[in-house]
Every structure is written in C-alpha cells, then in structure tokens.
C-alpha cells in the first residue's frame, strides 16, 4: 500500500507540474483565462496554485483506485519524469517570459 500511495502521488505531481506550465503560458496568451482566475480566486497566482493542488490530490486519489503495478521500476521512472518535467517546465516558463518581454 505504501508503494501504491507513493506511485499515485508522483503521477499526480507530474501532471500538476505540467498543468502549471500550461496554464501559466495559456493565461498570458488568453487574457479571458487570466481574468477567469482573477475573478474566481481573487488573484491568478492563487487560482493556478489551488487548481494545481486540486489536480495533485484528485489524480493521486484516482490512481490509488486503479491498479498501477507495484514494481519499483515504475516508481523510479515516474520520479525521473518529475525531475525532467520540472526542469523543462522551468526553462519553458523562463523562456516564455523572456520572449514576451524582449523579443515579441
């Protein structure tokens, strides 16, 4: 059970990180989305954080319900995926804001 909890929430974290990157860039390109976050969560940053937390918890709990396999190989694989997603995501966010500020 401990391995399954770990496995489930790592997948939740990978999807939460990908979501943060996607909604950050999308909200800058589509102002109605940014306004929606501001209106419903007081500030767009809070909206992104709450939505990412919700995705982390919901995906984690959903993965607990479905069989994932208990092999350590897949837990290792998903932790590495999290490292890669966070590293590429941070570069994508920084690159996007450099492009928006200096090049566009």
């Amino acid at each position: 059970m401990k391995s399954k909890i770990l496995h489930s929430f790592i997948i939740g974290a990978v999807i939460a990180v990908v979501f943060i990157v996607a909604i950050t860039i999308a909200a800058e390109l589509m102002l109605p989305l940014k306004d929606f976050l501001k209106i419903n969560f007081y500030h767009h940053w809070i909206g992104k954080g709450v939505a990412a937390l919700g995705i982390f918890v919901i995906i984690g709990v959903l993965c607990l319900i479905f069989p994932l396999g208990k092999k350590d190989y897949w837990i290792n694989f998903w932790i590495w995926m999290l490292v890669i997603a966070a590293a590429i995501g941070s570069l994508a966010i920084t690159g996007f804001f450099i492009y928006e500020a200096l090049i566009k």
Partner: protein, 145 residues
C-alpha cells in the same frame, strides 16, 4: 507597509532559506555511505514544512502588496524586465516547489531507501530552484530602489 506584510516578507525569505538548507541536508544525507533514514526523514519533513510556510507567507505578501504597490514602481522604473522576466518566472516556478518537496518527503518516508538516485536528483533540482528563486528575489528587490 504594515508590520503584518513586513513579517510575511521576512518569514517568506527565512523559510525559503531554511527549506533550501534542509534539502541540501537531504542531498548530503543521500550521498553518505551510511545513510541515516531518521536524518533523511526529519530533513525532508522540515524542508517540506519550510517551503509550505514560505509559499503561504510569500503568497500573502505577493497578492496583497506586491501587485498593487511594488510592481507599478518596477514597471515604470529603469528595470521593467526585473518584473516582466524575473518576477514572473520566479512566482510560477515557485508553484512547483511544494509538489517536488512533497514527493521527496513521501519517497523517503514510504520508499525505505529504494529510490535514492531519483530522489537525490529531485532534491538537487529543489536546491537549484530555491537558489535561483532567491537570487531573482534579490534582483527584483534591487530594481525597486
């Protein structure tokens, strides 16, 4: 600026620095030949709690004060890129850190030392993000003056 906001900013910085130090401790603990699970568990727990605290206090300062008072000064000053690039990147990459910290915490507490390599890489990334965010914060503060 009210004393509540001053305290929020100070605790945001202090807790962020504590979080970096605790994850450096995790990284060092993982590289040792005789790994102490107790040391790793305590360091990862306090690292996670520090970053959650830094998230809440920094978020409060950012939402209540920064956007209304500090951001306009930077955008009309000599270094508008400090907000447009550094602050925008910092605030969004900062959203990753509690999730990454939570996974290091869970992997150490539930994994019994079976995932040391990827957990070490993840801890290293948290430390790099933490240092980068701290440096960006210093540059943004400098741009206000």
């Amino acid at each position: 600026m009210s004393s509540l906001l001053q305290n929020a900013l100070i605790w945001h910085i202090l807790l962020g620095l504590f979080g970096i130090c605790f994850f450096v401790a995790v990284l060092v603990g993982l590289t040792r030949a005789n790994k102490s699970q107790k040391f790793l568990k305590i360091s990862s727990l306090f690292g996670l709690l520090s970053f959650i605290g830094s998230w809440i206090t920094g978020g409060y300062y950012y939402v209540v004060h920064y956007g209304n008072v500090v951001k306009p000064i930077i955008k009309e000053g000599a270094y508008p890129w400090a907000h447009n690039i550094l602050m925008e990147s910092k605030e969004h990459i900062f959203l990753f850190i509690p999730f990454l910290s939570a996974i290091v915490f869970l992997a150490i507490w539930l994994g019994k030392g079976r995932f040391n390599k990827p957990v070490g890489a993840l801890s290293f990334l948290i430390v790099i993000f933490g240092i980068a965010i701290a440096l960006m914060g210093m540059a943004v503060s400098g741009a206000v003056r």
